[in-house]
Amino acid sequence: MIRIVSSQWLSLLFRMALGGIFLYAGVVKSQDPAGFAQAIYNYRILPGWAINPLAILLPWVEMVLGAALVLGIWIPGASLLASGLLGIFALALCINLARGLDIDCGCFSTASSGAGSTTWYFLRDILLMAMAIEVFFFDRQWVPLVGLLARRRN
């Protein structure tokens, strides 16, 4: 079990998957900042003045992070930042789960399905965070861009 968890192949797989997810999420959000701002508003956590700056800036942080993970640049930092972002996201989901808020529409739903989707997002987030932590501890920088460039120079 320990061998599987610390396997370099698994780390590589997790890193590529996480990088791809962050890249995709960042590109999609950057195309529709107004829609993303509405999604942030739906969480009902941040004050109004913080919503637009976050909607404008966060997609680019995600894209930089995703690119770093896929290309193998600063993997410890990228996986730490990914864990941090996913941790904050998990906390926000947890708060809304406790409040019974459906984050799809920002409404306090009496039906269970609204909380159901929040639960699903929370579980998915925890899984991604576990992947980021695994990458932080066990990635041995397989196929890193920096390594390839250094080898070419030699």
């Binding site: 508003y41 404008i56 942080v61 930089v64 799809d104 529409c105 920002g106 009496t110 039906a111 609204g114």
Partner: protein, 198 residues
């Protein structure tokens, strides 16, 4: 602990010939030789640099892109509702009730199917915005036959009804109106509601 180090480090106290007893750190990286503390410190600096790069790129791209989101906007409920209703026609609760009494209301419930099952306006169709396309033909036909499509959801600033109305408009359905905070206001006014169905 060896699990965290990712190598086959031995935990515990070691003594080399002629050397004082020292503790081998189980958290040391076997390849870089860095302790966990140093690894964390390095990772933190890298993370902050990546964060700064992302923020700088985001701010620059926002300056370059014309007509994008303003840095600061009001997110008061009134402003949010006004933004949702831009280009759409609202219907008052009284008018919605009269339309329903005249048998001309086609209520479109934009909430999730679970909320719809728990209770909805009389004769409503469950049409979450993501499923608008599948219903557009049916709704267009009923609208052409004289029915008035009225989209609603729950909560003053709930975006789903406006989103549904906008999607239907884009699909060529004319005369779609939005009943703001429809479910709560209708129910709280004591008007009849239904449960179940799909």
């Amino acid at each position: 602990m060896a699990l965290l180090a990712g190598g086959d480090l031995k935990e515990g106290w070691m003594r080399q010939p002629g050397e004082k007893t020292r503790k081998v750190s189980p958290m040391k990286d076997p390849e870089t030789g860095l302790s966990m503390r140093d690894r964390l410190k390095r990772a933190l600096i890298q993370a902050l640099c990546l964060l700064a790069l992302g923020l700088a790129l985001g701010a620059s791209s926002h300056e370059i892109r014309a007509g994008s989101l303003p840095w600061i906007a009001s997110w008061s409920k009134e402003e949010v509702v006004a933004r949702h209703l831009e280009g759409l026609e609202e219907i008052s609760l009284q008018e919605a009730w009269e339309t329903q009494q005249a048998g001309k209301a086609l209520f479109l419930d934009a909430r999730d199917p679970g909320s719809f099952q728990a209770g909805h306006l009389p004769g409503a169709l469950s049409v979450p915005p993501s499923e608008a396309e599948g219903f557009s033909e049916e709704i267009r036909g009923l609208a052409q036959a004289g029915m008035i499509p009225i989209a609603y959801c729950d909560g003053v600033d709930c975006p789903l009804s406006a989103e549904l109305a906008r999607r239907l408009q884009e699909m060529g359905v004319e005369g779609v109106r939005v009943l703001v905070n429809g479910w709560s206001r209708w129910r709280d006014s004591g008007y009849p509601v239904e449960d179940g169905g799909s």
